[in-house]
Structures are given as structure tokens and as C-alpha cells.
């Protein structure tokens, strides 16, 4: 089926998620859609699959204009989407998942459906047991189930959102084989990804999105440098970085491995020294968050040892880490960092260890005033935290941070903040480094930020962790390729 998107626009509040996007995908093509997080890939796919409606623009399927009002509507037109987290029913059986939502009589003829199921999965050499429960399947198998289901419902266009995240390399090979077969049958495949290597291997053509706009298209042989530049834009390297004088070791990881249901990280060896800033780069969900949380004692590593300030804290609780000078700042300020409904003053009371049973409110008010002045927070002691702007919330979080902290761990320290706040936050952080001998580890999806403020950089890709790279000598291209999963053989 030929798919044509003409002038798709979609705004969320002040953000232009899709800005006048034109894209033609002929039948039988595997079309790659590349872009950073927040580039507008998901929005565009949601428009095509009926999850949301575009503000402007037209969708043509085989030359006919269609209005897609819902995902069910989309599948009716032959457009099916595989979501990154499979939208299936885990406690139910494979065959029940297959049947749910299919048209037909009230009581489905299980035998007939199972026969059809086997017939379909044979085409692609899948080996799913129709009677197995979905919660016992791997993510890759759940993808296979969804593919079969959508094909059974008559999908002619298949959208896959980051399908290679969380599946094994064997399953990836099988997935690619399947997609090639489907394309050969004349189906249209739209492959949304940030992994350059996958796109290079699979896609007949690629469109790159950045900040809501379609910035370029490419066909094989792909020039990786060009793709990286299209994805990230021209990244300006900042010269004149201050040289730092690393101190003793604040955090040492010896062969640390971390695991969750999606991925396995490590073993990682790292020595983070006092007064050092280490940036954790990588696409969202590449393992950096898991890594940072393990450093804070929020997740227990499955192997290896963690030493903080010379003390072995392996397997100890978050509170033991806290006591040893490790502080953690989550990205979701309102959900995990601050208590909505409480005032700034109350936050300072909560954050400080106090003697006595009763709260010393006069003292608290004074502390709050001092901190508000010291951190330049626009607010008063009795302002509730949700009334503050994002930048001021972030400053408040910094003010609440325990001192002295020997190791500061931060998720996206300046996400959503304007330039002025960003600069101010970093001047505070750098001040911490030089005055209080703190080491900082931070996650950011902003390459500028990583390059500008880090002394060393760890790159994450699908659970793999690079050695600590010297920020002064690495090039933007190199970094971009590593983030996209290329050039890892060098390590």
C-alpha cells in the first residue's frame, strides 16, 4: 500500500511536535524513520495509526484521502502499529490475545483460529505456542504475536516503534527477515528507530526528523556522518574547557553488572574522582538510568563491588549510600523529587535532620529564607513547590541536597529549563565540584550539555557501556555514532 503524508502538523501547547511533514512511502518499501528522543517520530506515527489526529495535513492511502479517527479505524484501512511496549494482555493466553478484538461470531471457533494461527506463523518460521500465557513470553515473542495478529486483521502497512529494543540478537535477525519477507509481499513497513546500524542493515530508505521537522532523506549506501549530522544538527564544540584537578576516588565500580527484565548492563569498571564531572550519554532507555540508580543504591547490582569513598557499600540500602554522601536527583521533579502541596519551608524541614520531636518553625523559616537567597529561587518560604517554575523547582532541589555530598547523581539536570536557568544550575553544580570536592555523574540526552560540562563521558547503547572517554578529545561525530550503536568494535 502506498502511503503519503502531506503537510502533517501537530502542536502540543507551545511545542511543534510535527511541523509540516511531507513523506511518500511506496508499497513494498521498508522506510526508516530516524531521530533523537522528542524529534517527533512517535507523534507522526501516532497520527498515521489513529492514536491522535493531526491539526493539519492529509493522509493518502493508495492515493485516496482517509481520515483515521482511532487505532481500530486505522486497522480497518490496513494500517497496524507495533508499540514499543507491546499492547497486549499479559495474563491471557497467546490465542486469546490473537482473538480479542477480531471480528466474528460471539463464540469464536478456537480450532479454526488456531489452525489459521499455525498457518500464519509457519510463513515466518515463528514457533509460538497458542496455549502459552503471554506473560511467560519474551518481548521478541510478544512482537511476533502482534505482527501475526495485525497481519491476520489485514494490515497492509506495519509501523514498528523501536522494535529492536529489548529483544535478543537472534530475535532481531528473525524480525528483520520477517520484515523483508513482508516487504517482498508488497506490504509497507515503517521502521522507527534511533539505532543507525539497524536502519543501515534493514531500510530501503530513511527519513530523518529533528525538532518536529523532516530534515532530510537518504537512500543506501548511507553516509553515517551525514545521518548523524541530520539527527543532532550542527553541534558546536566548546573550546577552552577548564582543566580539572581530579582528587581521590569518590566512587569505584569493580565489575558491576546490573539487570532488569529488559537488559543486562556491564560488567562496568569505573573510577570517579572528586571534582570530576562524568556525563552519561545515550538514547533514552539504553541503560544509563539503570546504571545511575545502581550507583545511588536504589537498584542492587547482580555482580561486582561498589566502593564509595573507600567504603564497600555493595548490596547496601539507599540509606547507607545517603549516609556516605551520595545524593540522587531524579528527572521527574514533581513526582520523585518534591512533595506537591508542601511549601518550600516544609521541604527544608523534611530534608534536614532535626533534633527533637517538635518542628522548630522559626528556625525553619530562617533556613528557608537563607537558602532561597543563596540559590536565587524565585519564591517565598510559604510558596508551594508546584507554584514554582521548572527552573526554580530545580534550584530548590539543589538547595535541598545534603551537604557535603561526595557524589552527586543527576538525571537530566536541566531538562525543560531555559538557557538562563541552565547556566545558573551548572554554575551551582560546578561550584559544588570545586568547593566541596563533589564528583558528579549526570544523564543527559542533550549532546551539547554532555560535551560542554563533562570531563569524561560514558556512552550507553542497548546496555553496553563504553570506557570513560576523555571529553576534550572526542569528536561530536564519534559520539553521535556511538550513541547510534556504531564504532563499538574499537573497545
Amino acid at each position: 500500500m502506498n502511503v503519503e503524508l502531506i503537510g502533517i502538523c501537530k502542536t502540543f501547547g507551545p511545542v511543534k511536535a510535527n511541523d509540516n511533514i511531507h513523506l511518500r512511502i511506496p508499497s513494498g518499501t521498508i522506510q526508516g524513520i530516524l531521530g533523537e528522543n522528542g524529534a517527533g517520530k512517535s507523534t507522526l506515527m501516532k497520527v498515521l495509526s489513529g492514536f491522535i489526529q493531526a491539526d493539519q495535513g492529509v493522509i493518502l492511502l493508495d492515493g485516496k484521502e482517509v481520515r483515521i479517527h482511532s487505532p481500530a479505524d486505522a486497522i480497518h484501512y490496513g494500517v497496524g502499529m507495533l508499540h514499543q511496549d507491546p499492547l497486549d494482555f499479559p495474563p491471557m493466553k497467546v490465542i486469546e490475545n490473537f482473538i480479542a478484538g477480531s471480528p466474528g461470531k460471539i463464540v469464536p471457533n478456537s480450532k479454526e483460529v488456531i489452525a489459521r494461527f499455525y498457518e500464519l506463523q509457519q510463513q515466518f518460521d515463528f514457533a509460538l505456542d497458542p496455549q502459552a500465557h503471554v506473560d511467560r513470553l519474551t518481548v521478541g515473542e510478544r512482537q511476533q504475536l502482534e505482527i501475526l495478529r495485525l497481519l491476520w486483521l489485514g494490515a497492509q502497512v506495519l509501523i514498528l516503534d523501536e522494535p529492536t529494543t529489548g529483544i535478543s540478537s537472534l530475535q532481531k535477525i528473525k524480525l528483520f527477515e520477517t520484515l523483508r519477507k513482508l516487504a517482498a509481499q508488497g506490504k509497507t513497513i515503517i521502521f522507527v528507530s534511533h539505532k543507525l546500524e539497524d536502519v543501515e542493515q534493514l531500510c530501503h530508505r530513511v527519513a530523518v526528523l529533528r525538532r518536529g521537522q523532516l530534515v532530510g532523506e537518504a537512500t543506501p549506501p548511507y553516509q553515517m556522518d551525514d545521518l548523524v549530522q541530520m539527527m543532532f544538527g550542527k553541534v558546536v564544540s566548546f573550546g577552552g574547557r577548564e582543566s580539572y584537578k581530579p582528587g581521590e576516588i569518590a566512587l569505584e565500580l569493580k565489575g558491576v553488572s546490573i539487570e532488569d527484565y529488559r537488559m543486562r548492563i556491564g560488567p562496568v569498571n569505573l573510577q570517579a574522582r572528586k571534582r570530576e564531572v562524568i556525563g552519561l550519554a545515550g538514547m533514552e532507555g539504553s541503560g544509563q538510568l539503570l546504571f545511575l540508580r545502581a550507583c545511588a543504591g536504589l537498584i542492587r547490582p547482580t555482580a561486582g563491588r561498589m566502593v564509595v569513598n573507600g567504603k564497600d557499600l555493595t548490596g547496601k540500602s539507599y540509606h547507607a549510600f545517603l549516609k556516605n554522601g551520595v545524593v540522587y536527583m531524579p528527572a521527574s521533579r514533581m513526582e520523585e523529587g518534591l512533595v506537591p502541596g508542601c511549601s518550600l519551608m516544609e521541604h527544608f524541614v523534611l530534608a534536614r535532620d532535626q533534633a527533637g520531636f517538635f518542628v522548630d518553625w522559626d528556625g525553619a523559616k530562617k533556613t528557608a529564607r537563607d537558602q532561597i537567597a543563596a540559590y536565587n529561587i524565585h519564591g517565598r518560604p510559604d510558596s508551594t513547590v508546584e507554584s514554582l517554575s521548572g527552573g526554580n523547582q530545580q534550584r530548590a532541589l539543589l538547595a535541598l541536597m545534603r551537604t557535603p555530598a561526595s557524589l552527586i547523581l543527576m538525571e537530566h539536570p536541566t531538562r525543560g529549563l531555559d538557557i538562563e536557568s541552565t547556566l545558573y544550575i551548572w554554575s551551582l553544580l560546578k561550584g559544588r565540584c570545586s568547593d566541596q570536592d563533589s564528583a558528579i555523574l549526570f544523564i543527559s540526552s542533550d549532546l551539547d550539555e554532555i560535551l560542554q560540562y563533562s570531563d569524561r563521558i560514558l556512552v550507553f547503547f542497548a546496555g553496553r557501556v563504553s570506557p570513560a572517554l576523555d571529553a576534550a578529545s572526542i569528536s561530536v561525530d564519534q559520539l553521535g555514532q556511538l550513541i547510534g550503536g556504531r564504532g563499538w568494535d574499537a573497545f
Partner: protein, 332 residues
Amino acid sequence: MSLETILTGLAGVLAAAAPVIFAAIGETLTERSGVINLSANGKILLAAMAGFAVAVSTNNLLLGCLAGMLIGSLVAAVVAFSSITLRQSQVAVGFVLALMCRDLSYFLGNPYMGLSGPRIPSLPIPVLSDLPVIGVIFFRQDILTYLSYVLIFAAWVWIFKTRPGLMLQGVGEKPAAAFVRGANVNRMRYIYTLVGGALIGLAGPTYSLSVKAGWKGTISGLDGIGWIALAITIFGGWNPLRAAFGAYLFALLQWLGLVLQPSLPDIPSQVLQVAPFPLMILTLLLVNIGNTEWVERVLASLPEGVRHAIARLIRSLRASPPAALGTPFEQE
């Protein structure tokens, strides 16, 4: 005790379980769609009173039953509107309704206190009722008890064997996934909450027109049944068959309490009256014990063969709630 007493006693157990079955299955259907309706206890009392009042005034049993179901649906509509449309806390709304409906039933039911009214006649099924043992226990009941038999299997087939039933499971499990499969999530939740409410409401007239005929206000002995039905729903793993098992167990324990009392004069009668409640909880806990972590630890230390046998037993009994239970669905 003669055999005949035991048989009629067991027949009584089946009849007494019927309203609990209506309520537990009504709640099961509601919760399968992702809505918790906590108002059952008050709703049953109000429906019992209203059903009796209507039956007395019109001398029509069918109208009495319909009145009970209507009350059930109306109260459920309040829960549905506030939780699905207004996105308010299902627990808070249901709880307040439970208390309000109970007091309302005592207050509005005053004029009908102690009146004698019609009672649903028993309807022995020809041929089947003449069977030895089975006939006496199962087939000399009234129509509502027969209906409870049918409902157990109908609800089970509906939930697990039909297309709409699979979608119902999906709506309670992951509404977003049901939505992409074409389900109108909020409409389905409305429908199942109202239907479930009608079934819970039917439990009321089943008491006041059959099991415990009449209306006696605060001493009707119905207070608490709704809570038991809620517990049975949960421990029954949102499965009509298991819920029915729970209801029968509860009725059986209550009957045993009555029967054993004369032969155990040393035990205060209150103990035997109350005993079914803790016993009920204990049994149901045992059935669901496989959900706990320490059991898994104990199991891990057992020899292979034994462990597999026990693990299989436990897995077959295990149940987890619909994952989206109590959370409103918001389409992007």
C-alpha cells in the same frame, strides 16, 4: 441427625448461597472491566427493602425482583458516573454509598417492618426432583436458586469463552490495548458496572422474598453480606466458578454453625454465629497462598518432585487482579 435433615439442610445451603452468588458474580463482572463497586453491602439492603415493599404493594413477585435490580443499577450508575466520567476515587464513592444505602433502607423501610408479604414459591423440577439425594438437594428449589446455577456457568462462559468476554478481560487488564483493538473502553465499563449492579441488586429481593422472607430492618441479618461478597470476588480470583465455590462454602459454614450449636452447649452461640466469617477468610487465604513470596522460598527448599506437584497446584489456584482495576482510562 437423620439423612433427611442433612439433605434438606444442604438444599437450604444452596438456596442461601444464591444471593451471595448473584452479588459476587455481579461484582466480578464489574471489576473485570476495571471498576470497583464498593457499594454492594448497602445496595443489597436497599434492594431487599425496596423489592419487598414493591412486592407487598403490588402483590407481584416479579416486580419486586425487578425493583431490586433497578436499585442496584441506579446505585451502580452513581459509581460509574463519578469514577468513569468524573474520574473520582471509586473507593471513596463506593464506600460512602454503601453506608448511605444501608441507612436509607432502614429509614425508608420503616413502614414495611414486620409485614407479612408474598414469598417466591418453590418449584420442583419434574423428573429431576425425584432423583434420590440429588433431587432433594438441587431440584426442589425456587426459581432464583435455579437462576443462580445458570448464572455461574453463563458468566464463566461469557468471560472466558466469548469474544466480548475476552475484550472484557482486556479492558480491565490493559485498557490501552483494548482500545487499539477497537473497544470503547468507557462505554464497556458503564455497561458492565450497570449489569453487575443489577445482579448485586437482585441479591436483595432474593433475601427478602425467598431466603429470609420479609423485612425486619436492622435485625434482618443482611448487613455484612455485601462485604462478604466483595471478599469472595477477590479471593475467587475474579472467576465465577471460584466465586461460586466461595459462596457455597460461606453458606455451608453458616449452616454448620446452626446445626452444631445444640451438640456443643459449652461454646457460646455467638461464637458459632460469627465463626463462618474468620473461617471463610482463612480458607480463602489458604487457597491464595501461592501469591506470597515466602511460599516460593519454602518451595525452593523442597525436593524436585514434591515441589513441582505443589507448584502446579498453587499455580492453578493463583489469581491476580485485573491490572487496571480502579484506574480511569484516558485516551490520548
